[in-house]
């Protein structure tokens, strides 16, 4: 079965979404020519050009990062363009993969519910919503990283069994949320400032470390 990938990351081909979708499709596809990939950032303002692709597709893998607690605005623009197809996508299968830079997957729950509702509106068939926390560094991590191997395996098992393996779906969440001991450790680590090391490195490299707490829009008498 052909896999149609819609990559909704505003970072396009340089995105973590691209890295993650490659892993899933590597596991799922027997050959690369069964894959069609669209980067939504390249279609901004002309999403109607993708309607035919949706009408002709069978299995969609729609991936994007969490932006301010839901989809990036441009992904919503794409979704809005699908309005003429509302109720008309019977039999078409939808896999969503949403991910966030926050370490915990819990931030994705509201968006997951919306995507389930969206599939209902389109009358499509929901295969599942894959959710992953802690994805921000994905494009810098080695191919053999466990998370990536699990995604590849998830794709492979989907091809073999026609459904998303529940155990692997849990694994690719990375971390559901912090609680108990892990929360205590997180608070301690956060206090040490160790979690800010990478940000501070970038701030120093760009010569703006001293300006990091700037409040450019604050009105004095507000």
């Amino acid at each position: 079965m052909k896999l149609t990938i819609f990559n909704g990351s505003p970072r396009g081909k340089e995105s973590n979404s691209k890295v993650l979708s490659n892993k899933f499709s590597k596991g799922f596809l027997m050959s690369e020519d069964q894959k069609e990939e669209y980067f939504l950032i390249e279609y901004q303002g002309k999403y109607e050009n993708l309607i035919e692709t949706v009408e002709n597709g069978e299995l969609f893998y729609i991936i994007f990062p969490l932006y301010i607690d839901s989809m990036p605005g441009m992904v919503k623009e794409f979704i809005d363009t699908l309005e003429p197809l509302r109720g008309k996508l019977k039999g078409k299968k939808f896999i969503y993969h949403i991910h966030c830079g926050f370490p915990e997957e819990i931030h994705l729950h509201g968006l997951k519910k919306y995507l389930m509702l969206l599939t209902e509106m389109l009358n499509g068939q929901l295969v599942g919503v894959i959710t992953s926390g802690g994805s921000e560094a994905s494009r810098f991590l080695p191919d053999r990283y466990k998370f990536f191997l699990n995604l590849e395996e998830l794709g492979k098992k989907y091809r073999e069994a026609g459904k998303l393996d529940e155990e692997l779906m849990e694994k690719v969440k990375n971390r559901k949320q912090f609680s108990g001991f892990s929360m205590i450790m997180l608070k301690l680590l956060n206090k040490t400032g160790i979690l800010n090391v990478m940000w501070n490195k970038s701030l120093r490299k760009n010569g703006v470390f001293e300006k990091r707490f700037d409040k450019p829009y604050e009105e004095k008498n507000s």
Partner: protein, 181 residues
């Protein structure tokens, strides 16, 4: 109380009239209120470059009209995000505007409500209100999902959601409810 209404209506219709009446009702009560009409503003998609965190702290590198938006938002006591539903959720222009709120936060983590969020940049953040146009697109399910998402948005914006309403209630009722916040 300083109120900013963010009008995320993509097309001119009676929802604009509702918001205009609401705005006027605050002015009648000598409240400081202003409406930003997003569809007349140039809003680029946030591309997640994090330049607002590590290159020009607090400001977006890509100039568009969201500079005004961020200024208004951070200096308000209440921001009312207003939108009709399309495909069961807020308009894409309102979502793009929300994406451009990122410079209002720090890159560093802080723990709020038992979850990791971004640390605040400013001393004070506005309270958050949501107003959805009541039409055939609105139902219990999509309202509940939107409410859940905006509760999170408010936590992320170091704030709280104090109002979640549809235009099923008249503008005067909504205005009075905001007075009591």
């Amino acid at each position: 109380m300083k109120i900013t209404i963010i009008n995320g209506n993509p097309y001119k219709d009676d929802f604009d009239d509702f918001l205009l009446n609401l705005n006027n009702s605050f002015e009648m009560k000598k409240q400081d209120c202003e409406t930003l009409l997003l569809r007349d503003m140039k809003i680029k998609q946030c591309i997640g470059c994090f330049g607002c965190w590590v290159k020009k702290p607090g400001e977006c590198l890509f100039e568009d009209d969201t500079v005004i938006l961020r200024k208004k938002v951070i200096n308000s006591d209440l921001v009312l995000y207003a939108s009709p539903f399309k495909m069961g959720f807020i308009s894409s222009i309102l979502k793009k505007a929300l994406d451009k709120h990122l410079p209002l936060l720090m890159p560093y983590f802080s723990i709020r409500n038992g979850e990791v969020h971004h640390m605040k940049r400013y001393t004070k953040y506005p309270k958050v209100g949501i107003l959805i146009k009541d039409d055939e697109e609105v139902n219990e399910k999509n309202l509940e999902i939107t409410k859940k998402i905006f509760k999170k948005v408010a936590i992320n914006m170091v704030s709280e959601m104090v109002l979640f309403e549809t235009t099923r209630r008249g503008y005067e009722e909504v205005s009075n409810e905001i007075d009591n916040i």
